[in-house]
Every structure is written in C-alpha cells, then in structure tokens.
C-alpha cells in the first residue's frame, strides 16, 4: 500500500463506553487492531477498551539500566581501588570494605535503574517529538479519540460506522503542530 491509499480517520467519542463499542464494531467490520489507536486524556487501560495489551520495553530497559548501574558500582568498588598508582589505605580497613561496598552497589544500581526507566519511557514513546501529529485537543477534556487507519476506498464505510456508534465527529485526521 502506498501512502496515498491510506486515510487516517479521527473519531471523537464523549465517553468510554461508546468508544469501546465502536472499537468492537470496527473490528467486526474488518479493521485490524493494528490499524486503530486510542487517544485519551486519562490512562484508559487496554482491557476497558477491549484492546490487545500494549507492548512496552520500559521494564526491560530498566533492568538493563540496573545491570549497567551495578556494573559501574562493581568497577568502582572492586576494581578502582587496585588501579591507584599506589595502594591507599585508610585506617585498617580493607581496600574493598564489605558493608560500604553494599551501600555503593545498591545506590548505583538504583540510580542506573531509575535513570534508564525514565529514558525507557522516552525511547518507547519517541519523546521528545515536536513534529506535527494527528491529535484533537478535546481528549484532554475527557473525550476519547479513535484514530483509524483505513484504505481510501473504505473511508466512507468506516466513517458511517463510527458515526453510527455514537461518534461526535469523524473526520480525516490531519497532522498539526500540537
């Protein structure tokens, strides 16, 4: 399919219920789940809308970050003391002191994990993204918008279906600066 063949329709619903029904209906008339997206002002879960669960990498990235943080801490605690030009002794403590090492390992692991979680949200969501996007500002007022990708020829059919399911408005979505 070339791009000119595809039309994005943006249907705005006033509430969760008709939106969920519309999604079900769309699926029934042959629109794949992949071709739909829901935009909402509150976190409506996939289950509420009867949508397949979203894939997210955030926990994996967080775990990776934790490993990175732990490795950095390991280098700092177990390796760095042996890289000095001459050994630095404090009091009679060992070069790699036990309990303090645990503290450092913990802190840097957490730091790595939390930093990468934050980063993960950015990566997964393509943040920051200031290009024009398809959006209706009303969603922040509680409306639910459904973004449907459909072939040009089916535009009318889907528009009617959405309207029938209670959409307040259905129109081709245009990318705009948010």
């Amino acid at each position: 399919m070339t791009e000119s063949n595809i039309v994005d329709l943006l249907a705005v619903f006033s509430d969760l219920e008709p939106a969920a029904n519309a999604i079900e209906h769309l699926r029934a008339i042959g629109v794949a789940d992949d071709c739909m997206n829901v935009i909402s002002g509150i976190p409506v879960t996939e289950a509420m809308l009867g949508r397949p669960a979203q894939w997210t990498n955030v926990p994996r990235i967080a775990f990776g970050g934790a490993i990175l943080g732990f490795s950095a801490a390991y280098l700092l605690t177990f390796v760095a003391p042996y890289t000095y030009p001459y050994p630095i002794q404090v009091s009679t403590q060992a070069y790699v002191p036990g309990p303090p090492t645990a503290v450092v390992l913990f802190e840097l692991t957490m730091l790595g994990m939390l930093l990468s979680t934050f980063l993960g949200v950015f990566l997964d969501s393509f943040f920051p993204n200031y290009r024009p996007m398809k959006y209706v500002p009303e969603v922040s007022d509680g409306k639910i918008a459904i973004l449907v990708e459909c072939p040009h020829m089916e535009e009318k059919k889907i528009t009617d279906a959405l309207k029938k399911m209670g959409a307040e408005s259905v129109k081709p979505a245009e990318a705009q600066h948010l």
């Binding site: 042996y82 050994p87 630095i88 002794q89 404090v90 009091s91 009679t92 403590q93 060992a94 070069y95 790699v96 002191p97």
Partner: protein
C-alpha cells in the same frame, strides 16, 4: 595488586614512629607550640578567632584543676597532638581520601591539596587535634620569609594537623640512604621534642626496641589516651607523681 589479606589487622599493628611524653616534667612553657608553628608554617588567627576555638595549634597543652582552693592542684600539663593512630578514625570518613594511612611510615597523612573541607575527619577525631583553616589568615609581609620551604602553606578550607614533622623524617631518611645506612636513633627529632627545654617529649622508632623512645615507653605506668576506643595511638603519656 594488593589483596585484602595482606593488610595487617588492627591487633597486629605495631606502629613505626612514636612518642613518649612525660607530663611530670612538662612545664607547660609552650616552647613546643611555638617550635611547631615555626617549623610547620602554622598560622596564627588573632584574638577573636583564637578565643572562639579556631586557633591552629597542632599541639596544645591541656591542664585541668583538681580540688578547691586552698587544696587546688593543677593537673599535669598534657601536650595533646595527633596521636598518629594505627587505627585512625579520621581516615575512613574522608570522602576525598585526603587523610590516609602511610604504610611505609605508619603515620596518619593529611593531603592538603586533596582536602575539600568537609571537616568530617575532625569531627571523628576523638583527640580533637585537627585544625581547620577557617579563613585565609593574614601573614603580612615580610613574615612569610620565615616559611619553611619543606612544608606546604595551607589556604582556607583545608584541614591540617600534626605530621610528626614528616619533612624531617624524610630528610633524615634521604640522608641516611645517600650514606648507605639506616637512620640512627636520635639523629633527628620533631620540632616540639627538639625545643622542649625539659626534654619531656621523646620521639623515635617504637618498632625498634633499642631506641630511647621504646625504652621509655616500656616503663610500667604509661598511658595511651582513649586507647579503649581501639584507635591504637602511638603516643605514650606518663603522668608521673
């Protein structure tokens, strides 16, 4: 690479340089304090700051009172300086490694140019013998002509303390080395011990049983201050009497 096992445990620590201070003959004359200040470029801080506990003395002479007039007694003068602990509480708490243990000299080093001035070491010193450069104290010209070139001049924000005149230790060791011999007991001494008119301070190798300081240190009634904290101080005091 040094393995943790190679580090001596605190109970095995013997120390290398040490002092014996005879409080019975210390007259409190302050010659050691002046000598230390001159040798180590210790700054004076003026009336207001010295009265507020900011004097920089590396060695101070403590005295207390016992009893009430007329049966009042001055307790034996107690010169208090860095005890060069074998197990120093000041060392591990410095976040910048500015105070570390010298393995070759078994001394407690203060690395002035590494100090960022958290003052944690001073808090954690049970002997309260560290002094902090609260300001850049003025030493107007030409007073700086007197500075000992072997000792760093410290600026504001830096902790300092008695070094057992490490510059003298090194000088003596270098000299002995160039002459192909060991440092002889009594060949050199710290500024305070050298000045002391009563010879109340004796300095030397405590790991050498033949040295004067070891001989004096093995008398029976010596006291190591706050030994109960496990700091392994290297100065033995005799109260006498």
């Amino acid at each position: 690479m040094i393995r943790p096992e190679e580090i001596k445990m605190s109970s095995e620590e013997t120390g290398k340089w040490g002092m014996v201070i005879d409080q019975d003959i210390c007259t409190g004359c302050q010659a050691c304090v002046a000598a230390c200040a001159m040798e180590n470029n210790v700054t004076f801080v003026g009336e207001v700051d010295s009265g507020y506990g900011r004097s920089m003395h590396w060695i101070r002479i403590e005295r207390f009172w016992e009893g009430e007039y007329p049966e009042v007694k001055m307790t034996p003068n107690q010169p208090m300086l860095c005890q060069q602990c074998g197990h120093a509480t000041c060392e591990p708490v410095c976040p910048a490694f500015a105070t570390v243990h010298s393995q070759s000299e078994q001394l407690n080093l203060q690395v002035y140019n590494r100090c960022v001035g958290t003052r944690y070491c001073a808090n954690n010193c049970p002997y309260q013998v560290r002094s902090f450069n609260w300001r850049d104290y003025e030493r107007p010209e030409p007073l700086p002509n007197q500075f000992n070139p072997d000792v760093t001049v410290r600026r504001r924000g830096v902790m300092e303390k008695c070094t057992f005149c490490i510059q003298r230790i090194h000088k003596a060791q270098d000299k002995a080395k160039s002459e192909g011999r060991e440092v002889v007991d009594g060949e050199f001494t710290t500024a305070c011990a050298q000045a002391c008119p009563a010879s109340a301070i004796t300095f030397g190798r405590i790991d050498n049983p033949e040295s004067l300081v070891s001989q004096l240190g093995h008398r029976s009634h010596g006291v190591k201050h706050l030994e109960e904290l496990g700091t392994l101080p290297n100065i033995t005091y005799y109260k006498g009497g």
